[in-house]
Symmetry: C2
Subunit: 229 residues, 2 copies
């Protein structure tokens, strides 16, 4: 089966208080989104990469690809007004009846080869697979103005790529109104499909704050010295 | 009221797969625990600092304090077989009837002045206050071999210092059997006391893995350049 990676890069940058959308912010002197594409291309060059970008940034992306001589093959679709719509636009461009699809945040450049490979393998086997990590800190749940402890051992923090059989994902997106959309797994779950969880890699962080950018720079510099994969 | 910081440093280092307990691992060339003590002493030198250390490491700590010419005043008590017992030993050494007590992880060196100050202030006002941060990733809950999404907006990740009125904490520790101990807040809660949550600082991470050490080095180097407080 062909394997696709849909990279969702719809950020507007507002959370960081800067004008440039966060997927274009540089780490190690290159836009985050380029690192993310490389993670997939370096794992397996035959993975077909589709980026969903806001329409107004598509030209910008093409310009910076030229500036950075960025040559990893990929296609670009215009994102919708929500993440779910963006994924739907990307799915509409896939012509096969069946394939494996990984949906990945554009601002998670540190996904490991193992996470990608395991995701595709388990999606082929179970239909839906997502990487998770354990939560280290204690957790409390807000409850009616008060709060109470919740057992952290039964909680898992969800990462991407969320991996699916294309047919299942298409069906989920066809049926959904996207009103209470949280993530792709939740949509697919509504079909009665159970979601297979597997251990992701801890450095696969979602870069959404200045603090995350700082961590990202640290990961990059340590990778160069061989400290991290 | 006098203010105390009980720094719990009972780690054995096994989680990192090294022999040296993690509170003694160096960041920016000095043991983590020294950075942690400095966070409190730099905030307010009159805060009385008590470290709970495993008995077998007390001499080691005194030796390295000498090696590093570490002069921040503090007292040391021998930790118990659990975190709760360690806190209890530290509490036993406080003679006042009332005071404010912050219980802090020895491996959280990046607690900010604001987090410390707010913790003490709110503990004075409400009896019990703990810093929390929002959870950025989606979260799932394991449930009988399956799993389901849980609303992350109502979850908070718990940090330290957990701050209390001494009288309340003493009462909680007197009544508890420590059997299902998770954290100090949970003990105090059993007295019918509600826990006041407040926003902590995100870089106040608990250093428990090699990845955390990497992040810690990054935070330190950015602080030196004035990028972070």
């Amino acid at each position: 089966m062909n394997r696709y990676a849909i990279i969702v890069a719809g950020g507007s940058g507002s959370r960081m208080g800067v004008n440039i959308p966060k997927q274009f912010l540089p780490i190690a002197d290159r836009p985050i989104l380029m690192h993310t594409l490389e993670a997939f291309a370096n794992h397996a060059p035959e993975i077909k990469i589709i980026i969903a970008l806001p329409q107004i940034y598509i030209q910008h992306w093409m310009d910076i690809c030229e500036d950075f001589t960025f040559t990893i093959p990929h296609s670009v679709v215009a994102g919708g007004s929500s993440r779910a719509e963006s994924v739907k636009h990307a799915l509409d461009g896939i012509i096969e009846n069946e394939a494996l699809v990984a949906i990945h945040d554009g601002v998670r450049p540190f996904v490991s080869k193992e996470t990608i490979e395991t995701g595709f393998l388990l999606a082929a086997q179970y239909g839906a697979a997502i990487p998770v990590i354990e939560i280290n800190d204690s957790v409390r749940m807000l409850d009616n103005g008060l709060n109470r402890p919740i057992e952290r051992d039964i909680l898992r923090s969800i990462q991407t790529p969320q991996c699916f059989l294309l047919s299942l994902l298409r069906e989920a997106y066809k049926r959904s109104s996207f009103e209470i959309f949280t993530d792709d797994a939740t949509l697919v779950e509504k079909l009665g499909q159970s979601i297979h969880l597997f251990d992701g890699n801890k450095e696969n962080i979602k870069i959404t704050t200045h603090f995350d950018l700082l961590v990202a720079e640290a990961i990059i510099s340590r990778r160069k010295t061989g400290y991290l994969q």
